[in-house]
Symmetry: C2
Subunit: 328 residues, 2 copies
């Protein structure tokens, strides 16, 4: 009887502890060479504001006990609406001047996943990825088929004008006027957005959203909508969202690679993320970074470029925001 | 002096041994529940003939000292033309009665990779994937953009009629007439084609080609064009082509998972491939199989379905062909 009571108390305490398990989130807005000539104090402030609003929106959801999946969507919706980042509004333009977006999402508890690629007009591509995960038997849908699916599920569409900023139009013109400069720029800057989170139930989630590569060939798909390359989440290891030279991130299955190193070797989150970014990818000349979180709420944000837009709220509530190599 | 001579002789012998290193290839034509009512003696013979021609075509290239990449393309071209398999000619139909094809290819020596998804009219989608790898800075191209790219590179196009067989038309009608039966059939049969090879230089390659899932939603992409999920090749571990319930193969990054287990644990090719197919995927109810080859030419062809169309030519020249659980 005493034993049963003790067991019940123990179970109750465990349950309470689980429900109160620490929450944490980290987001990114792309990695690359942050060029002073493209950065004004005003622009930097707008970027900082958007990053902070995004991290806090995701964190608020987590504090209300909402699932990690909802938190990453809440965080990414803000970055998709912010014209400073290469996702939805403000996305880069393809070589024909259109906006083609990709997004993906993954649930670390179930390994359920959803992704869309080469979609146009959807205000929040991350929500389209979520619907593919929740409301279709598929993981990945692309192009017109994915857009019809999003329409059927009542997602908000915007006209092309809404997505295209003057900044991106000028960027495309400059790139097309000087192919050499374009090549250099392509190799220096990858501005995807992403979020990973740990919720109060101990579940992980990851999501990524992008306009892809500026001046890219129509129909090109990078790592962002590829489960394993740009996005991965598995409660047994970690949740990862990547930003970088997508082709290399695909070949090296970057996001899953980090989880795999954690599961199959004794590497910690920091060691695994650092290994993939600063050894595996750096060794082949691939620029980029990742944000990653493990089931205890540890956060890792390595990048091998001069800067990466990033923010995090740690389990102890500490807010962190960085642009260049040192956190500020 | 003697020492130098000995060293030179040794180097010469090593070089000769490498050039004469054994070659091997294995191919698949899909895994699933092979239903007697869908199989006639005539159809089985046609399938056996096509599998043998495919394996022998790839093997002939290898024996001529051609790279593994060429061998897998040669093998898959034959399966793409054969109306018995779900790739190019004879591909399954989408829910709107169209043919939408995916393919991917990967070079184990360089980790270069190429893929196309949701393309129409291309006689050999595997060649389109090869061109994306060789002639574009990208890994993955989809839809109209990929088709324009293929046209620019002179690939052969065929009218829709060429791809659609009576068998697939009837299959779609039957599936659409009875949604329940359709569901059952979808879960029982995944007929992708693939090839993996080891060439005389010791390099591995893998490729996969498919029409996807019968009666699929327009725009759905499965694992076949996803590097890591349906196809992976890395000289340091193995080359893999998968066939199965694509959504699960994506979530579990099936092909890369096998290479990862080999690189990070002491598992052999057989153990790693068996683990992914008969533990990881089987545990979550995912049907399918893989063909895989390691740098010594060992071949593994596990599947957790009643059958998988498969053939192999081992390093010792032995030819193997199987349809049901036991090799015949």
């Amino acid at each position: 009887m005493l034993r049963t009571l003790l067991l019940a108390t123990l179970l109750f305490l465990t349950g309470a502890a689980m429900a109160e398990s620490p929450v944490a989130i980290t987001i990114h807005g792309g990695a690359g060479t942050i060029l002073p000539e493209n950065m004004t104090a005003e622009r930097e402030q707008a970027i900082r504001d958007a990053l902070e609003r995004s991290a806090r929106a995701g964190h608020a959801a987590l504090e209300q006990g909402r699932p990690a999946l909802e938190a990453v969507v809440a965080a990414i919706r803000i970055l998709e609406d912010a014209p400073q980042f290469n996702a939805a509004r403000g996305a880069v333009l393809t070589n024909t001047g259109t906006v083609e977006m990709d997004a993906s999402i993954m649930d670390g508890a179930t390994l359920d996943a959803g992704a869309v690629a080469a979609v146009k007009g959807i205000r929040h591509p991350v929500e389209a990825a979520l619907h593919v995960m929740n409301d279709s038997p598929h993981v990945m849908m692309i192009g017109e088929g994915a857009m019809n699916f999003a329409r059927d599920h009542g997602l908000e569409f915007k006209s092309e004008d809404w997505f295209i900023t003057d900044f991106r139009r000028q960027q495309l013109e400059a790139m097309q006027a000087d192919e050499q400069a374009a090549q250099a720029r392509r190799q220096n800057w990858y501005s995807t957005v992403g979020a990973v989170a740990l919720d109060a139930s101990g579940n992980l989630a990851a999501a990524t959203s992008t306009g892809g590569m500026a001046n890219k060939q129509w129909g090109r798909v990078g790592d962002s909508p590829i489960i394993g390359a740009g996005t991965y989440a598995d409660n047994r290891a970690c949740a990862v969202s990547a930003t970088g030279h997508g082709e290399f991130f695909i070949r090296h299955v970057a996001a899953y690679n980090i989880c795999s190193l954690m599961r199959l070797t004794d590497m910690s989150l920091d060691e695994a993320a650092d290994h993939v970014i600063n050894a595996t990818l750096k060794d082949v000349g691939a620029d980029g970074g990742v944000i990653a979180i493990d089931p205890s709420g540890r956060i890792s944000m390595p990048f091998n470029t001069p800067g990466m837009y990033r923010a995090a709220i740690h389990p102890d509530g500490r807010f962190e925001l960085g642009i260049y190599r040192e956190s500020e």
